[in-house]
């Protein structure tokens, strides 16, 4: 890593000269602004930041960031970004994707990038709908949801991105409401610090095709009662009165009320994000009440590029091949002379 002083940026340094063209009121604006605010705090140089996206509303994101970026093809951003990072591990590489891009057409790359644990940051804009193609159900749309391609109701059960991701060995998973810019900025900064693939799912409201899909969790008046924002090392307490918490009953998580039935704060489970065993993290991801947000899993593990780097150094140190000539002229070679030998 570079040790030279990094100039102090402001969010404006990361805004490109391109006019932002999302629909008015879209949560994407919130995410963009949160990212532009987070980047100056990360301690990375602007020229070392790369945004790679696929296709979809969210994937226009790189055009609006004044750093390096590539708007790729549908679903392939994790693969493109993997190439960028393996080519130059010093870069801070971000993948911007949506629920269609990452869960449908790009499902394969999504699971494999997580399995490999390359140090990328993936921001998944989940609005449970296809926006850019104007309103078809996506792999995260609910059963029964009426969309342009499911006029009588969707019959395909959805993926839960966190469940799929942790199943694919994600070491870092955070989930955030689309209207929580402060938390987003904090988590983006943390994700950049984290060594390994970090996945941040944002419950992003699509004002045109799926408006209000998260209101029951994210609206200001219900948020505190319906969401549990977890923090590492702290008891998992939520509610306007901060009197509800999670307890383990057998193999199930349950909501208990502090002060009732002899429950005290000491009975409430303490969140531990840095656990190799993802069982409890999966339970938190799947919970419907409360909806768990925050950094649910943060398990530090060796990255692919660290393994590759170590292997390359080791092979280099014991190899007799320094230049290609050493290889080409090695082993079984023979000389041909103008006057052939007998």
């Amino acid at each position: 890593m570079e040790t030279t002083a990094i100039e102090k940026y402001t969010f404006k340094d990361f805004a490109s000269d391109q006019e932002v063209r999302w629909c008015p009121g879209c949560d994407d604006y919130v995410i963009l602004r949160a990212m532009q605010k987070a980047l100056p705090e990360m301690g990375v140089k602007k020229e070392d930041v790369v945004f790679i996206s696929g296709i979809g509303c969210s994937s226009r994101f790189p055009y609006y960031m004044d750093c390096y970026g590539m708007h790729g093809i549908h679903g392939r951003a994790p693969a493109i970004a993997s190439g960028v990072k393996l080519a130059n591990p010093n870069l801070s590489v971000w993948v911007i994707t949506g629920d269609g891009d990452s869960m449908a057409i790009g499902g394969n790359h999504f699971i494999h990038v997580l399995r490999r644990n390359i140090d990328l940051n993936i921001v998944l804009f989940n609005n449970e709908i296809y926006g850019l193609t104007k309103g078809q159900f996506s792999p995260t749309s609910l059963v029964g949801q009426k969309t342009k391609s499911s006029p009588y109701g969707n019959t395909q059960p959805p993926f839960q991105p966190g469940e799929l991701a942790i199943g694919a060995q994600a070491r870092y998973f955070a989930r955030l409401g689309g209207n929580t810019p402060k938390e987003m900025t904090e988590v983006f900064i943390d994700a950049e610090k984290f060594n390994g693939t970090s996945l941040i799912e944002i419950l992003q409201n699509c004002v045109i095709f799926n408006d209000g899909c998260y209101s029951k969790y994210t609206d200001k008046d219900v948020r505190e009662d319906k969401q549990l924002y977890v923090e590492d090392g702290k008891p998992m307490i939520f509610g306007k009165n901060r009197n509800k918490g999670l307890v383990l009953n057998g193999l199930k998580l349950e909501v208990a009320t502090i002060g009732e039935n002899g429950i005290t704060e000491n009975h409430i489970l303490v969140h531990s994000a840095n656990e190799k065993d993802p069982t409890l993290h999966q339970m938190l991801v799947r919970l419907e009440y409360p909806l768990v947000t925050g950094i649910i899993r943060r398990f530090e593990d060796i990255t692919l590029e660290e393994r590759e780097d170590a292997l390359t150094k080791e092979v280099k140190s014991r190899s007799k091949f320094k230049k290609t000539d050493d290889l080409f002229f090695s082993g079984e070679t023979y000389k041909v002379h103008q006057a052939p030998l007998k």
């Binding site: 190439g83 960028v84 080519a87 130059n88 010093n90 390359t312 320094k322 079984e332 023979y334 041909v336």
Partner: protein, 622 residues
């Protein structure tokens, strides 16, 4: 080289030959590839020109003795230039009935067959669907058959060696065959003994057993009165230099290594295993000592997508595949073309369509390479034509992609990729310079789509470079800023400039050459992996006195060399020979009016045979 202990006690016929074709066949587990490789290596070191071709079943362990489980290795050695593995087999070594049955067609009457009689059991004959034993029913009367109880003789040779089991004993019989063939062709066993000493330095028993059997075969042949002839093939007059035997796929991989070193860039390969291209991946993963980053991706698309990412970040990036894989990569290749990044895509062609004939050769991906993408998305297409020049064209693909900032498709095929030949080793110091379009410092009024005025290549500003932050993508670009643009005139302008950029590559590639005749009655045209077959056919016919037949072989397919039309005009008739239904003929028709392009096509998963070509060419000039 060790002395060859030839016998002088018998009245042997000693024939001197220009060239000879030997084919070793047996079960997948009989070690035929190894036997063939050893014979080729020994002959090459002796100074012969060689060309080899392996032929093995796609089943990994096919049932023993079955017709479809036959594995073969053919080698053509010569004191003259040898450009194909050969059509007609002079010596067939058949380790079992199935091998004999499936390969007899290639042996001309009067030529020699060595068989292991121990393998001609009722069971094996049944498996090979022989109703009667061909060794007894007279069906081989037109051949010179040498019957040897190889398995028994191998066992006898090893009876005093302790610490080896039956399996090792039966597996060694290929060395008995090799020993015999060494003697027949006046070759020393030393090269193979050296190999065993090195390979099994920690397992002396294996050295002992293999060397014993090899020598036993050699001495058996010497004393066997059934062998009436020994043959000599004098060293060939190859250009002076240091050589090695190289397989096409290895040569391709090494061409990339050389280009990376010469250009000073790191090499990145994103790939997914597919026959017959996988050996390039196998080769490149070995070379971490050169800093090669070889990434086995989750699928073909991730293979090319990761390479595009690596290219964006400043590596010399490649992806390797075969026909169906190129189809999967089509969309991403369009992206690479649109964002104008350097990228080499290798397509080791195989029999198509769909899954087709994975282990067989064909040239049927030319049109896919040229046009197999949405929109108008031209790329450079070049093709290697021999196992050894896979090195040069892999290198050239890198040079073109870096200098012109556009993807390059390199076509090879299963025939040259798996074939091997002597390669006069090239040092990186002797290879042509490779420039690139990297820009490392901020310039006033800089834009990502600023172009070189000669090549039209855009500049290459990679992440990590201060002040050159920019965005690229698959949406149409503004011609200057590279920002998204829906302006109609801009789209047309960009479409034209992308085409013009490829066209201008003509100024940087060599003319197509004509061989044997520069003008005359017939021009034989070929491209890619058929060079050896076509060249030897025209050469032979030329020797017979047909002096007005010329031969032009294309390695540059898009764009075509500048002098193409001049070459076409110099001949009365033109015949385009391809292992497809006429794809290059179509390309020529699109580009050149007023010519009649005759065609000779073969779509059997097999290379051209010498005789069929000669017959066709003679017809056309009679």
């Amino acid at each position: 080289m060790a002395d060859i202990k030839t016998t002088k006690k018998k009245k042997l016929q000693h024939e001197i030959l220009d060239a000879v074709v030997i084919r070793f066949v047996g079960d997948s587990g009989d070690g035929m590839q190894f036997t063939g490789t050893q014979f080729s290596g020994t002959s090459a070191m002796f100074g012969n020109d060689i060309a080899t071709f392996p032929n093995y079943p796609s089943e990994i362990r096919a049932p023993q003795g079955s017709l479809y489980g036959v594995s073969g290795f053919q080698v053509h050695i010569g004191s003259v230039e040898v450009s194909t593995p050969g059509d007609n087999v002079d010596l067939l070594v058949a380790m079992n009935p199935a091998g004999l049955k499936t390969n007899l067609f290639a042996v001309k009457a009067g030529h020699t067959i060595i068989v292991d009689t121990d393998a001609f059991t009722k069971k094996n004959l049944d498996k090979a669907k022989y109703e009667t034993n061909p060794l007894e029913d007279g069906s081989l009367n037109n051949y010179r058959v040498i019957e040897v109880a190889m398995t028994s003789l191998t066992k006898a040779a090893l009876k005093d060696v302790s610490g080896i089991d039956n399996k090792i004993i039966t597996r060694s019989k290929n060395m008995f065959a090799l020993g015999m063939v060494y003697w027949m062709y006046h070759r020393s066993v030393q090269h193979t003994i050296d190999f065993f000493n090195k390979k099994f330095s920690k397992e002396p028993t294996l050295i002992e057993s293999n060397v014993k059997v090899l020598n036993a075969g050699y001495f058996y042949a010497e004393t066997l009165e059934l062998i009436p002839n020994v043959y000599s093939i004098a060293p060939a007059k190859l250009p002076e230099g240091t050589y090695r035997i190289i397989m096409g796929n290895t040569a391709t991989a090494w061409g990339f290594l050389a280009a990376a070193e010469k250009s000073g860039l790191e090499l990145f390969l994103g790939s997914y295993p597919i026959t017959p291209a996988t050996d390039i991946l196998h080769e490149l993963v070995k070379h971490k000592h050169f800093g090669v980053k070889a990434f086995q991706a989750e699928d073909e698309i991730a293979g090319i997508a990761s390479a595009i990412g690596a290219s964006f970040a400043g590596d010399l990036a490649l992806t390797t595949t075969s026909g169906p894989g190129l189809a999967l990569k089509g969309e991403a290749l369009g992206l690479a073309m649109m964002v104008e990044l350097p990228l080499v895509v290798v397509n080791v062609q195989r029999g198509g369509p769909s899954t087709g004939l994975p282990t067989k050769t064909e040239q049927s991906d030319l049109l896919q390479a040229m046009y197999g993408r949405n929109g108008e998305s031209p790329v450079i297409v070049i093709a290697a034509s021999t196992p050894a020049n896979c090195f040069d064209f892999a290198y050239q693909a890198c040079k073109l992609t870096l200098e012109h900032m556009t993807p390059v498709i390199l076509l090879t095929d299963g025939y040259i990729a798996n074939g091997s030949a002597p390669w006069k080793i090239k040092s990186v110091a002797d290879m042509p310079e490779i420039k690139n379009n990297l820009i490392k410092e901020v310039k006033e009024n800089w834009h990502p789509y600023d172009r070189d005025e000669n090549t039209l290549a855009r500049n290459w500003a990679v992440p990590g470079t201060f002040g050159l932050e920019h965005r690229i993508g698959g949406l149409e670009k503004d011609k200057v800023t590279g920002n998204v643009s829906y302006v109609p005139e801009n789209h047309e302008y960009m479409t034209k400039i992308r085409a013009e950029k490829i066209k201008r590559v003509q100024n940087y590639i060599p003319d197509v050459k004509t061989e044997f005749a520069n003008e005359g009655d017939l021009l034989v045209i070929g491209w890619g992996g058929t060079y050896g077959s076509l060249h030897s056919a025209v050469k032979e016919i030329n020797k017979e006195g047909y002096k007005s037949i010329g031969f032009a072989h294309f390695n540059y397919l898009n764009p075509l060399p500048k002098n193409t039309e001049t070459v076409l005009k110099a001949f009365k008739k033109i015949i385009v020979c391809e292992l497809n239904s006429g794809q290059f003929a179509k390309v020529l028709r699109i580009n050149f009016n007023g010519f009649e392009f005759l065609q000779y096509n073969k779509v059997q998963g097999l290379p051209f045979g010498n005789d069929e070509l000669i017959q066709k060419f003679k017809q056309l000039v009679k």
